[in-house]
């Protein structure tokens, strides 16, 4: 079993491992900020701070043979599904150790062994593709499912509506997860969308739908399991709206000065890491000492990852010419 699959298996089995993965994502994203400031990373990046429960909850209930399409805000989902921090950070730093060899960048992470399609930098871009993956499962009669993760802003783009309609009439084994983090780029969702509960949009496609507390990993697991089971058993698609909150700005350039006063602080009281910690302490799985050790060990781990990625070579000029077309080979 590959190291990546082992990482995936860990979060599928153990609540403490799930918590550790959430800490990994948090630490990872915080390191990214520093690396930008030091000039080690260029371009842009979109952090998922505050959205760790959704990423890890999702990864914990899917099989590696299920397919996930996600977005440019994808570091957390990639790590949760099992990509190594080196593969993710290496890609963000444009190094050969990255999952795309450094030609993709922060917005384009993938690993097909773990079921992660290349994340898309186009709003709604991954949704029809997830439906297509589900179509292949339906035709080939497997019981795998496809999951499309997208933001609240995507519910206003044509691809969202076209894909929901198509998935519904074809009864595809696909789960649509709207990660409603309250902001579409720089705009609060209420300024661009006439309804607060985005999952209601599925009604017009006769698709089952519900919202869940995206800050609470158990709620994510319960909701995603319900939808995935429906899809696996031939019951068709579901639209889930995970209510989350983006602790950071839209991208590196965005200080998020448009937030109403106190909004961030209110959501931070429901920080998914804090909530998970409380649950694990209550169940006796963790105590303050163990938590402190997990956090300090993770800091050390991620610092090592940074050093490894910094030492990784730059890609060769030849690498930009690779993987544009499939190499010619004998026909079928």
């Amino acid at each position: 079993m590959s190291a990546e699959l082992k990482r995936r298996k860990a979060v599928q089995e153990d609540a403490v491992a799930q918590y550790e993965r959430m800490i990994e994502i948090r630490e990872f994203e915080e390191q990214i900020n520093g690396l930008f400031a030091s000039g080690a990373i260029r371009g842009t990046t979109h952090l998922c701070l505050g959205q760790e429960a959704l990423a890890v909850g999702l990864a914990s209930v899917l099989r590696p043979t299920d397919i996930v399409s996600a977005t440019y805000r994808g570091h957390g989902i990639a790590l949760a599904l099992g990509l190594s921090p080196e593969a993710v950070l290496g890609e963000i730093m444009g190094k050969t150790i990255g999952c795309c060899g450094g030609v993709g960048g922060s917005m384009h992470l993938s690993n097909m062994e773990l079921g992660l399609l290349p994340t898309s930098a186009i709003i709604g871009g991954g949704m029809p593709i997830a439906a297509g993956a589900a179509l292949s499962f339906q035709v080939r009669k497997t019981d795998d499912v496809a999951v499309a993760v997208f933001g609240d802003g995507a519910t206003n783009i044509g691809a969202f509506h076209e894909t929901l309609n198509l998935a519904s009439i074809w009864n595809l084994p696909v789960v649509f997860i709207c990660d409603n983090n309250v902001y579409g780029e720089y705009s609060r969702i209420n300024l661009t969308t006439p309804l607060e509960d985005l999952h209601l949009r599925a009604d017009s496609y006769k698709m089952p739908h519900f919202s869940l507390d995206g800050m609470e990993i158990a709620a994510v697991q319960k909701g995603v399991t319900e939808a995935v089971n429906r899809a696996r058993s031939g019951g068709g698609p579901t639209l889930i709206e995970a209510k989350t909150y983006r602790f950071a700005g839209h991208s590196r350039a965005d200080q998020a000065l448009y937030r109403p006063e106190g909004e961030l602080e209110k959501w931070q009281k429901r920080d998914p890491i804090k909530l998970t910690e409380e649950g694990l302490v209550a169940s006796g799985a963790l105590n303050a000492e163990k938590i402190a050790k997990i956090k300090s060990d993770m800091k050390t781990t991620i610092e090592k990852v940074v050093a490894t990625c910094q030492a990784s070579p730059e890609p060769s000029l030849a690498s930009m010419f690779q993987n544009i077309f499939t190499p010619a080979k004998a026909g079928r």
Partner: protein, 338 residues
């Protein structure tokens, strides 16, 4: 000639939008985060404050919807300017621009005009990866009924914006993102008509035609080469200025086009084809193009810097072509890559 004021490229865009909005109450601007946030690249700073929410509007992430709304508003007498944050986001709205807007006049027997402007940031060099770094002139340049311009400095950004808004037909403005922060002197009384190229440097050895961020690259290359090159900023891709370009090629007998676009299917092929077929007997050497390779824009900083034509490489090719009389090889051919 009026007085000039130094300003950044993005400020030139803001000023042109503001001046047009002051002059014409039918001009309006909409797009993602252009109002409250004043544009992701700060190209609408202060506009909401001055012109209010009726004319400066944030949109949902719905490019097809708001580009199409611009078509309808334009038909009915408004002059909408829409902003597409990254050129690639036009993909989902292309239908409204090339299939609807560009055909309205034709299909209404000349009854309708569509005086709309679509602005999009384009180009590589900032590490945004292959879905946010293309120039994509070729998506729009083969659409009769649609004009396409691309400014290379603050003056062109200002003057072409005003000309585009005043134009009675749909105009696409490709704004090289890497230039937004560049400073330049702007004369607000200077008119740059759509369809008119700018001769930025007179010369007799070679005619170099460039566009957008490649204009600076070509200018630096010419300085490095020490050659007497005539530099033309094409400025308008459709309809391109045949008169200025062909007159220059007639004079120099040589043509090199510098493009930030893949080798295959670029706008420069059109220029080279026209010069070759119309001035064949007067050419002293084969016209050629310096482009990016036929690959997606790579993310890595090292690769992205090599991907796009550089001043050093353009200077090498200009010098070699003049010395040897043959067409120089691209950097990737020299590296044995394809």
């Amino acid at each position: 000639m009026g007085t000039t004021t130094p300003m950044r490229f993005r400020q030139a865009i803001v000023n042109a939008l503001a001046d047009e909005m002051r002059a014409d109450s039918t001009v309006m601007l909409f797009g993602e985060d252009v109002a409250e946030a004043e544009g992701p690249f700060k190209t609408s700073e202060g506009l909401l404050t001055e012109f209010g929410p009726l004319r400066i509007r944030d949109t949902p992430i719905s490019e097809m919807g708001f580009t199409g709304a611009a078509v309808g508003a334009a038909i009915m007498g408004m002059k909408p300017v829409v902003e597409i944050m990254f050129m690639e986001f036009l993909g989902v709205a292309l239908d409204q621009l090339v299939t609807e807007a560009a055909k309205m006049r034709y299909l209404s027997n000349g009854m309708l005009s569509v005086p709309m402007v679509v602005r999009a940031s384009v180009g590589s060099g900032l590490g945004f990866g292959c879905q946010h770094s293309q120039t994509l002139e070729n998506w729009v340049a083969a659409t009769p009924g649609l004009k396409v311009v691309c400014p290379s400095d603050a003056q062109a950004a200002y003057s072409l914006m005003r000309a585009s808004i005043q134009d009675p037909d749909p105009v696409m403005i490709l704004e090289p993102r890497i230039l937004y922060a560049e400073r330049g002197d702007v004369d607000t009384s200077l008119v740059l008509p759509i369809g008119k190229a700018r001769v930025l440097r007179k010369g007799s050895d070679i005619t170099v035609v460039a566009l957008g961020q490649m204009v600076n690259v070509a200018r630096n290359a010419i300085e490095k080469s020490g050659l007497d090159v005539e530099l033309i900023d094409l400025a308008t891709v459709v309809p391109w200025d045949r008169e200025t370009v062909l007159a220059s090629v007639k004079k120099t007998g040589r043509l090199v086009v510098v493009e930030e676009a893949p080798k295959s299917g670029g706008w420069g092929s059109e220029i080279v084809a026209a010069a070759t077929s119309e001035l064949f007997s007067q050419l002293k050497g084969a016209p050629f193009r310096i482009t990016t390779p036929d690959v997606p824009v790579p993310y890595s900083g090292v690769l992205e810097a090599r991907f796009v034509p550089t001043a050093d490489d353009v200077a090498r090719q200009l010098t070699e072509s003049l010395k040897s009389g043959t067409t120089p090889k691209s950097w990737w051919e020299l590296e044995g890559l394809k």
